[in-house]
Amino acid sequence: MDILASLGDGFSVALSWQNLALALLGCFLGTMMGALPGLGPANGVAILIPLAFTLGLDAVAALILLTSVYYGAMYGGRISSILLNIPGDEPAMMTCLDGYPMAQAGRAGEALALSGVASFVGAFFATWGLVFLAPALVNIALLFGPAEYFVLFTLAFATLGGIAATNQAKSAFAAALGIGIAMIGVDTQTGVQRFTFGEVHLYDGIDFLIAIVGLFALSEVFVFLEHRGQGESGGAAGKMKIGRLTPSWGMLRYCTPTMIRSTVLGFLAGVLPGAGASLGSFLAYSVEKQVVDPRSKTFGKGDPRGVAAPEAGNNAASGGALVPMLALGVPGSGTTAVLLAVLLTLNIQPGPLLFQNNPDVVWGLIAALFIANFMLLALNIPMVGIFTRVLLVPSHILMPIVAMIAFIGIYSITGSTFELTMMVGFGALGWLLRKLEVPLVPVILGILLGNEMEVNLRRALTISNGEWSTLFDSWLALALWTIAIVGFVLPIFLGKRVKKKMEDAAEEGPLGD
C-alpha cells in the first residue's frame, strides 16, 4: 500500500515536539474561536495566517498550526450552540435544535460530550476518506490541460453559492469583483501594468491576505458595532448547569448508527463543489430525522441523536472539503479558500502536482489532522469547562483584541500604512456587501484564483492559436461545463426552498463557512 507508506512518512514529519506543540496550540485556539459567536473558522484562520507567516514557521509547521485551528473551530462551534442557543459558527446552526433543549433539561454536559465524540467520529473517518480519495482524484486531475483547468475554475465559481443560494447574480457579481481585484498589478504574461494608475503600492497587486483579513475579520467588528446591545450573550453560559461530562456507553451505542450515517453524508457534502460544512450538518440532521423520527416526536426536543447527527456531519464535511482543495487546488467553501490562501502564502501551489512535488507537506498535513483529532477529543471532553468560560468574556473586550491582532498581522507582513488603510477599506466593503447579501466567499476566491484562471485561459488559447472552441474540445471539459451549468442553474429553482427549510430549522447564521 503506497498510500499507507506515504502516510507513515507523514507521521514521521508531524511527530516532532515543535509540531505537536503547534497542533495543540492550534486546537486550543481553534476551539476557542469556534466557540465564540461571530468568530468562525474562516475568520480564525484568516487572522492567524500573517502571524504564522511572519513568525518564520516552515511550511509544514505553519500548515499544522492553521489546519488544527480549522478543525478546532469546527469542534468549538457547538459549545455556544448547546449552552446559549447561539451557533458559534454557521455549521453549528443545526446543533442548536436539539443541543439547547438538552442543556435546558440539565443535560448540557452530556450534550457537550456526545457532540465532542460525534465531531471526532465525523472528522476522523473523513480524514481517512481524504487519505484514499484525494490521491484518486489526483490521477484524474493529471489529465487536465489548461483548457480543463479554466473550466474547472469556472465550475468552482458557478457552484460556490451552493444549493441554498437565493440570488445567483449576486454570486456572479461577487466573483467578478474578486477576479477584477486580482487583475490589478503587473500582468505576468507580458509584463505590462494593469489597473495601477501609477500607484507604486499597487504594482505587485493587492495582497490577498489584506483582502481576506479585512473582509472577514474587520467586517465582523462593524457588525458588532451595528448590533451593540442587542442579544448580549455573556452571563447565561455561566448559570447553565453542565451536569455530568461523560456520555454513557449506552448513549454512545444508541447514537452509533446515527454517527455512521451522518459521517458518510457529511463527507460527500464536503467533497462536492459548493457545499461545505453548513450543508453537511443540515443534510445529516434532516436525513437522520427522516430515518429515525419521521413524525418529529423527539427531534427538536433534546434528542441526543439530533446532537450527534449535525456534529458528525459538519466535521466530516470539513474533512471532505479538503479533498478538492488539496487535489485540484480549487476550494469549495470559504474556510478551505482561506486554507488555500495559507498554501499560496507559503509558495505552495495546491493541485495534482502537490502530491508529487511536496509529498512531505501533504502527508505531514494529513498526519497532523489525525493527531489534531485526538488532541481535540482530549481537549473537548474533560476540558470543555475551560471553553465555556471563554463564552463569559463579553464581546466588547474581545472584538477590539481581534481587530488589533488583524492589524498586527497585516502590519507585520507589509510594514506599511498604505496596506493597513486598504485593509480597513476592505473591512467597510465587507460590511456593506454582507448587508446587501452579496456573498464574500466568491470575492475571496476570485482574488485568490483570478490570476491562475486567466493564465490557464491564455495558455489554452495560445495552444489553440486563438480558437475559443478549445474550451469545449474534450469530454472532460464538456463534463465540467455540464456540472458548472447545472450547479449554477439548479439553485435558481431550488435555492429559495432549501434556504427556507434551513432558516425554518434555525435562525440566521453570521457568515458562510
Binding site: L51, T54, L55, T166, N167, A169, K170, A172, F173, A175, A176, L177, I179, G180, M183, D187, Q189, T190, V192, Q193, R194, F195, F197, V221, F222, L225, E226, R228, E232, P394, S395, H396, I397, M399, P400, I401, A403, M404, F407, I408, Y411, S412, G415, T417, L420, T421, V424, G427, A428, W431, L436, E437, V438, M453, E454, L457, R458, L461, N465, G466
Partner: protein
Amino acid sequence: MMSDRVLGGVGLALAAFYAWAATIIPEPFASDAIGPDGFPMIIAAVLALSSLYFVLKPDPDPKWPALNRLAEIGFALLVMFGYAQVLPVLGFVFSTILITAYLTWRLGAGPLTSLLNGVGTAVGLFVIFELIFGLSLADGPLGF
C-alpha cells in the same frame, strides 16, 4: 428594492470604469491571443450583466441600521483609518491603547473598563508579539 438598484447602478459604473481602464493598458511588445486586456473585458461584462440584473430584479431591502448606528460605524472606520496613519508616529503601544479603548467604549463598556482593556491589550500584544515572538511592531518616539 432601492438598495439593490443602487448596488446595480454602482456596479454598472464600476464595470464601465473597469472596461475603460482595460482599454488603456499599454500595448505589450509581444502579446498572446487575447492580450492583457481580453480577460478583464470578460470580467467587466460579467460585472455589468449581474449589475443589470440587480437593477431589473432587485431583492427586498436589507434592514439598514438607524442613522446613529451608521454614524457609529462611520466613526469607527475613521478611527481605524486614523490608527493606520498615527501608528508609525506614536508607535504601537500608544496608538493601540487609544484605538482599543475607543472600540471597547463604543461596543458598550464603561470608561474605566475601556481604558483598562486598551492598556491591557496593547501591553499584552506587545509582550507576546514583539518581546516573545520577535516581530517588529511600529516603534514610537520612546522605542515602543
